[in-house]
Symmetry: C2
Subunit: 337 residues, 2 copies
């Protein structure tokens, strides 16, 4: 029998917590370490911090990444920040420890346009150490980009690609409702957008992946963030939004060629959203539409996509990969190591 | 500039014809030969036989496979039969010519359960010659299997997988309407099923791929073929179906574990079908449904999937591959060789 996949969790925030709980269900995986710089977490048991029913797990969280990475993991699950420049040192440290990396860093999902130098640096380092890394998640990483490129397999000609993801944030946790500006005035919302606080990160990365995956000659990527304003009173478990107040975000990224739109990716995430769904539309030959009624549940599915990517990244050639390159699938709980 | 991908078409039936017309639109591809044993086709121009508007193409169809395969193609598009045992020699001949193969042979799409020895033989031969082969198409190859496995990337736990594909055959060509038994009596239909004439090939292969891709412990695969009986008169361009006559097929393949159904793949293909659609349902955590309203158009999409798979099979490691292993996508017409 082969030995288990040795995994380290890097970052134990809400997403990291849901990832490790899912990792524990995979018989093929052994969690050998966890890293978090938060003094409130370092030194404590990973299972306890993650809120696992079967805690303690006997795995201590440590703030000392270097020390934890010496445990020679096969894979590091990295979940600390959306911004690629902020996590470069963390990623390089993992690669130097000869571990593959699956990261939730949105800007890593398809970094070739925004950060070509950083992408090249990571690719070179990964090849030097003989390991592979990928940034993924449900969005970016799946709904608007990977699924679109997969659907494109049935097309003979593609003129335009559109994805609309409508998420009802009413049932999501409070930090998310706050993050999308629910309950703010329109003015306050715009100030938060200008300050870079309110923003779903990753749409331009998805546009870039779709452009390359569909061979669409996109020469410019634009992005707008507008408030979704409540038409009627919305009450969630945590807060109330009055008519005229902000219910959430309405964000659109476009891929243009000579000013003409070829790609349109739209995220509507607000409390009280009617008919949540993910819808993809390819215009060309043939025209084809794909719908996920209710929408891919972001809370569950982010951890899923990340954990399900582990077998694929361990199998991938060394270097910087994207979800576009990987044959996604399911990491069965009972799968043998 | 790299040289173009040299392609040979093996089999110039209706599907082969639609494949070569699509191939001609790809700037990166040069069609260097074509094989068909039909005396009505051999010796004629490929473009003319395919019914291309820009015929003649200056590519002659030949009945002599060996001779054509000496043109050292990078890839052979193979489209002669649904039955793997019948095409083994053809496939081996292509591999020996050191060409990758994309085949529409349904039983090649996932042959490991039904024909493990043949699969092993093809895998070994492909590795010997340093090339890769794959069987694919819209179904099997995409809708009920590859797309299902891709969708599974958002799942944490999967208890059951279901796919229903409803195709309205009214607008399809006459041979297809005949093939599904449209206009027959129920008795005649059952005789044709018993004789193995009426059957969509490939559902058990899709069940096997889904079972492996989703880690479901399927120990038995069953298949039923029933007539879809017309409730009212249906008139197509080619034929009329009276109430009580057969309108087409209703075929179900199941993956069982100890008698319990884990996988249910259902194909309804009949003239006058209401609400054609492809619907996938994963039950587990989370429950998730995906719909393609109107359904993936089989006539267009089979050629699409086959041609779009060419760049992936050229990039794949040597051996027998399946659509499950390949990161499907789009082969852009303007893509560079």
């Amino acid at each position: 029998m082969k030995k288990k996949i040795r995994a380290i969790q890097y970052g134990v925030g809400p997403i990291g917590a849901s990832i490790v709980k899912l990792l524990r269900e995979k018989q093929a995986v052994e969690i050998v370490g966890a890293i978090d710089i938060d003094p409130a977490k370092a030194g404590r048991d990973l299972g306890e911090v993650a809120g696992a029913a079967d805690a303690p797990w006997g795995v201590k969280i440590s703030a000392n990444a270097k020390e934890v990475l010496e445990k020679s993991a096969d894979v590091v699950i990295h979940s600390t920040s959306s911004a690629l420049p902020r996590v470069m040192d963390q990623l390089l440290e993992c690669l130097e420890a000869e571990a593959c990396v699956v990261s939730t860093c949105e800007e890593l999902s398809y970094p070739f346009r925004t950060y070509p130098e950083l992408a090249a640096k990571l690719d070179a380092a990964a090849k030097d150490w003989g390991v592979a890394l990928v940034g993924t998640g449900v969005n970016p990483g799946f709904v608007m980009d990977k699924l679109m490129v997969t659907l494109a397999a049935v097309a003979q000609r593609i003129d335009h690609a559109k994805a609309v993801r409508i998420v009802d944030a009413s049932k999501r946790r409070l930090p998310l409702q706050n993050k999308i500006g629910a309950g703010m005035s329109v003015e306050e919302f715009r100030a938060q957008v200008a300050a870079g606080v309110i923003k779903h990160v990753g749409l331009p990365e998805s546009v870039a992946m779709v452009a390359d995956g569909l061979g669409l000659p996109v020469d410019q990527i634009t992005e707008t963030i507008e408030p979704a304003v409540a038409q009627e009173r919305v009450q969630t478990e945590y807060l109330t939004v009055q008519p005229g107040q902000v219910a959430g975000v309405h964000q659109i990224a476009r891929g243009l060629s000579g000013g003409n739109e070829l790609i349109h990716l739209e995220l509507q995430m607000y409390v009280g959203a009617k008919d949540p769904a993910d819808t993809l539309e390819l215009t060309g030959k043939p025209n084809i539409t794909l719908t996920i009624p209710g929408g891919t549940p972001g809370d569950v599915a982010t951890a899923s996509v990340v954990v399900n990517t582990i077998p694929m990244i361990l199998d991938a050639p060394a270097g910087l990969r994207t979800s576009r390159d990987l044959p996604l699938g399911f990491f069965a709980p009972g799968a043998k190591p």
